[in-house]
């Protein structure tokens, strides 16, 4: 075992702890407050005399207080140092926090209490929420089902398809077929970044659903790379019409609708 032999200026150490701009708290084995620095006192809006020796759960009143989730309790029972998220009331409002708890040991290594520091993570949580919102938005705007012609819908799929997005694609497509009474739908997968079995499974599902809606499904954008991957994955797109290019698919779609594209001025 390594002994850290250091000469510590106790007054300085206390001074540093006191002025650390985030709450630092220590308790004894009975979970009674033996230390709370200035920032901690400021957070709860009480003086040291008021809280000294009081059970910490009465003082902090966080979501973990008094429950089995309390890390302070866990580390004192021999658990590892841990950092977890929590919520606590600061000046009357609930604030998301993160706290790290560690056991306090005496010279013999006996656990005599615990110490923890608390960090306000309001800003981080706000950023995370924003990021989640943004990715949700991206998912939504990236699954358009567009009416291309009377009774013809196209669903361009770009990027990475995960199960959530596949579900959105499915529902967007079904609703559009319903609304437009589409007879043919083109699923263009040229822009799909990768084709694993889950993605292929989603595409097959979408094609099956299209058929049940009474609509034909043409998958376009089966490039050589996509084709090779499908072969390597051992996936057969039986009963599904596929094309390499969107142009070919469009041509087939017009045929299914009994329409032909002819150059202007050409004889019928």
């Amino acid at each position: 075992m390594t002994n850290y032999i250091r000469i510590i200026d106790t007054d300085l150490a206390v001074h540093v702890l006191e002025h650390l701009p985030t709450p630092v708290m220590a308790v004894n084995r009975e979970m009674e407050l033996v230390f709370l620095n200035e920032a901690g006192l400021k957070h709860i809006g009480r003086s040291w005399e008021e809280v000294k020796g009081k059970p910490c759960k009465d003082i902090l009143q966080s979501r973990h207080c008094g429950t089995s989730e309390c890390k302070m309790r866990q580390v004192m029972d021999g658990g590892q140092v841990a950092t977890v998220r929590n919520e606590m009331k600061i000046n009357g409002r609930t604030v998301p926090v993160e706290y790290t708890a560690a056991a306090l040991k005496d010279q013999d290594g006996t656990i005599v209490g615990g110490v923890e520091y608390i960090i306000d993570i309001t800003e981080r949580v706000r950023q995370e929420k924003k990021l989640q919102e943004q990715s949700k938005t991206i998912r939504e705007i990236s699954t358009p089902a567009i009416k291309l012609w009377d009774r013809m819908v196209i669903l361009p799929v770009v990027g990475v398809v995960d199960s959530q997005r596949a579900q959105q694609m499915m529902s967007a497509m079904l609703q559009k077929i319903m609304a437009t009474a589409a007879k043919v739908i083109i699923l263009d997968i040229q822009g799909v970044a990768a084709m694993d079995t889950a993605v292929a499974n989603h595409l097959i599902k979408i094609a099956k659903a299209t058929k049940l809606m009474g609509c034909r499904c043409i998958i376009s954008g089966i490039t050589p790379a996509v084709a090779e991957t499908l072969v390597q994955l051992g996936i057969e797109l039986t009963d599904i019409d596929t094309n390499s290019t969107l142009q070919d698919s469009l041509f087939d779609a017009f045929s299914l609708l009994d329409l032909t594209v002819t150059p202007k001025g050409s004889k019928q």
Binding site: A193, A194, M195, D196, T197, A198, G234
Partner: protein, 136 residues
């Protein structure tokens, strides 16, 4: 250029995390010198591994990097989770096996796409997969 291709590490917790894995993987493969079709193929295999982690273990990690042997450069992917593990590995590696939803072609297809493939799984402890694709 080779120094630039440091190992990339991805923490997976949400299905959306696979997006990052696939996009970065493709860029990495391109920088390494793989052709477009190979990029797509290998990225698909990596996507398979990462989707498996999210679906069956809930969370885990994917690391991608480079390896060298006899003057040849290889792309290496390591997938790791502490999930439920695979009870019957032989069965899972057999063709047409499905452990639930999905096509059940997952792991054998990764093995087929990559040049080297190694899997270790302990029920209740998790799964580790390492696979290499050499640059021809």
């Amino acid at each position: 250029m080779q120094n630039r291709l440091k190992t990339l590490h991805f923490e997976l917790t949400d299905p959306f995390d696979n997006v990052q894995v696939v996009i970065c993987c493709k860029r990495f493969l391109k920088d390494l010198g793989f052709g477009e079709a190979q990029q797509y193929l290998i990225a698909s295999a990596v996507s398979e591994l990462s989707t498996n982690i999210i679906r069956y273990a809930g969370k885990g990690t994917i690391s991608i990097g480079t390896t060298y042997r006899n003057g040849t450069v290889g792309f290496v992917v390591a997938a790791r989770d502490d999930g439920p593990g695979i009870p019957d590995l032989k069965k899972a590696m057999a063709e047409n096996y499905s452990s639930g939803k999905g096509l059940g072609l997952g792991l054998p297809s990764v093995k087929r796409i990559m040049d080297e493939f190694e899997i270790h799984s302990t029920p209740g402890q998790g799964t580790r997969v390492t696979a290499i694709k050499w640059l021809e």
